[in-house]
């Protein structure tokens, strides 16, 4: 089994990198972009028997910092 974890800064937490990408897109002429948020995708190869709850625990303890980030788990 594989799991894909998406980690994004929470709404309201400033994302300077996303802002820089937005500025760059604007400078290139892509004037229809009103906001950019940048995050991480982490792919996990899981052994038999692993559950979504296991992945959630990994997110809580290491993969995301829940002070500033939210995460979504996708089992694939």
């Amino acid at each position: 089994m594989k799991a894909r974890v998406h980690v994004m800064l929470k709404n309201g937490v400033l994302d300077p990198q996303g802002e820089a990408v937005r500025h760059a897109l604007g400078a290139m002429g892509f004037d229809k972009v009103t906001g950019v948020r940048q995050g991480k995708v982490i792919d996990l190869d899981l052994a038999e028997g692993a559950t979504e709850a296991d992945v959630a625990e990994m997110c809580e303890k290491l993969l995301a910092n829940t002070v500033i980030e939210r995460y979504e788990i996708e089992l694939v």
Binding site: L14, P16, Q17, K61, L62, V67
Partner: protein
């Protein structure tokens, strides 16, 4: 007086922090990240700056899960003293010992320069060598020093007088201009600026020396 300084793969301010403790009169033991315990009868543990574990995932995230950090957490839970500088501050927030998190600098640039800090409280062993309101010059050297905490946490830090230092001119976007904070029992300090880089005349400034001098003789081992 006994101090320990933690060394992670990628730490680069560990020796500077050790020298600052030594000059203040501490016997210093370096402890490796794989060690599962700290020396006994330890007055204070220092978590140094650098790029622990290459700053992979998030600054301080992997270090916070290392065996020695579990021992550091236990030490602080027992009421032991600790200070984290720069990457050490990031690690202490990742362990949950200190609230908040350090984000990428608002200007996206790595900043390395001496900045002005206002001593926000003199009510801690770390800041008692200064007067509240003093302005001191201490170097910063970081890419991810933009202190973030939610409104509720910021209000709590202010209400409990736990902001140790603020920037006179905010270099990185930190909320509330916060450069350093204290734990609830005031025995743990985390700060992005490097007092150990302003602790000897050879550094070009000695405004950080008072922090280390003030620790000497007042700590109790945990």
């Amino acid at each position: 007086m006994r101090a320990a300084v933690v060394v992670f793969p990628g730490s680069n301010c560990d020796r500077d922090l050790a020298v600052a403790f030594e000059q203040a009169g501490f016997d210093v033991t370096m402890v490796w990240h794989k060690d599962a315990s700290l020396p006994e009868k330890l007055d204070i543990v220092g978590v140094p700056g650098g790029f622990s574990y290459g700053d992979y995932l998030r600054c301080g995230a992997i270090a916070a899960q290392s065996p020695i950090c579990k021992a550091v957490v236990e030490h602080t839970v027992r009421g032991g003293y600790a200070m984290g500088v720069c990457n050490g501050f990031q690690i202490l927030t990742e362990t949950g010992i200190l609230p908040g998190a350090l984000l990428r600098n608002a200007g996206l640039k790595y900043i390395c320069k001496t900045v002005g800090l206002t001593v926000a409280t003199s009510d801690s062993v770390f800041t008692q060598g200064y007067n509240a309101g003093d302005v001191i010059g201490i170097p910063i050297a970081h890419h991810d020093g933009n202190y973030y905490a939610d409104d509720e946490t910021l209000a709590m830090l202010r209400d409990q007088d736990r902001v140790a230092f603020t920037y006179t001119e905010n270099p990185n976007g930190s909320r509330g201009d916060i450069a350093g904070i204290l734990s609830e029992n005031r025995r743990v300090l985390g700060m992005m600026p490097h007092p150990e880089r302003a602790a000897d005349a050879g550094h070009g400034g000695t405004d950080g020396a008072a922090l280390f001098r003030a620790l000497a003789g007042v700590l109790t081992p945990a």
